[in-house]
Point group: C2
Chain length 143, copies 2
Amino acid sequence: MQITRQADYAIRAVLYLARAGKGQRVATGDVADAQHIPPSFLAKIVSQLSIAGLLHTSRGARGGIILARDPSQITLLDVVEAIDGPIRLNECVTGEGICVFEETCPIKPVWCDAQVELVRRLKSVNFAMLAQDQQTESANAIG
Amino acid sequence: MQITRQADYAIRAVLYLARAGKGQRVATGDVADAQHIPPSFLAKIVSQLSIAGLLHTSRGARGGIILARDPSQITLLDVVEAIDGPIRLNECVTGEGICVFEETCPIKPVWCDAQVELVRRLKSVNFAMLAQDQQTESANAIG
DNA sequence: CATAAACAGGTCATCCTTATCTGATTTAGA
DNA sequence: TCTAAATCAGATAAGGATGACCTGTTTATG
């Protein structure tokens, strides 16, 4: 019930790029340094984000990575799902035919609803918002 | 980003007990059969639920398991956290000092808020409700 | 051509998850 | 008291996910 470290790293990387400003190409080494991400691990993550179409890479000297679209067009959900795959709170939410009790199970709707809400929430946050905010005063989940 | 099979099994087991009715002692083997749970695996789960105080066990012939409190006093959250531990959407939500960027991170509040909402939702569902409902017509999370 | 950088991939250790098995212990009932 | 029924505790094992490293290969710049 937790996103992976990879997804967390990916979010921080995209945030860094969003903050770097428009059309600013950045070396992944710089991102790793600034965000305290193991450099060789970040390479893999960048590769996945590139395949997902969230950023463009350019090789060679003066190469680097750059966001594929405006930060306002990249949501938290985009990044999380690019790395961890689709959000599924329980196996049965995946589709039909997974659970024997599907038809009469009173729990499945609970998971479905909760998942819809979570997805909606992550989709509502984009990286233009995140890049400009410093930490907002907000609820703390502890306790 | 998914509850474990164990947690899912635990939920189904508790649901079965809730449906069995008040003061009805049931053999774990029966639960395993009815809910299609590997019997020897269920034993471990039952043990954890017992430690968590959600059900009582009695050994010996005619022994079995029984809910420790009224189904209305057991929430979905109780069962999930008894097995999987506290719900944490991201490592940083656990507490202070985990993340270097805590103070200025614009993402942490998003996770905290989403987690609070998810926990609230799971806490709002108890097994008295689940036991009496057949499947309600509800949103489907697919798509 | 030399250098800087991304890229592809393989490897590795560790932990988690799921599951099974075995033996010990307890209890009800004949 | 004996036996069958049932939980309890612990060891074990396969498999996969996770986090991380390392080595070449390709490509663009100067």
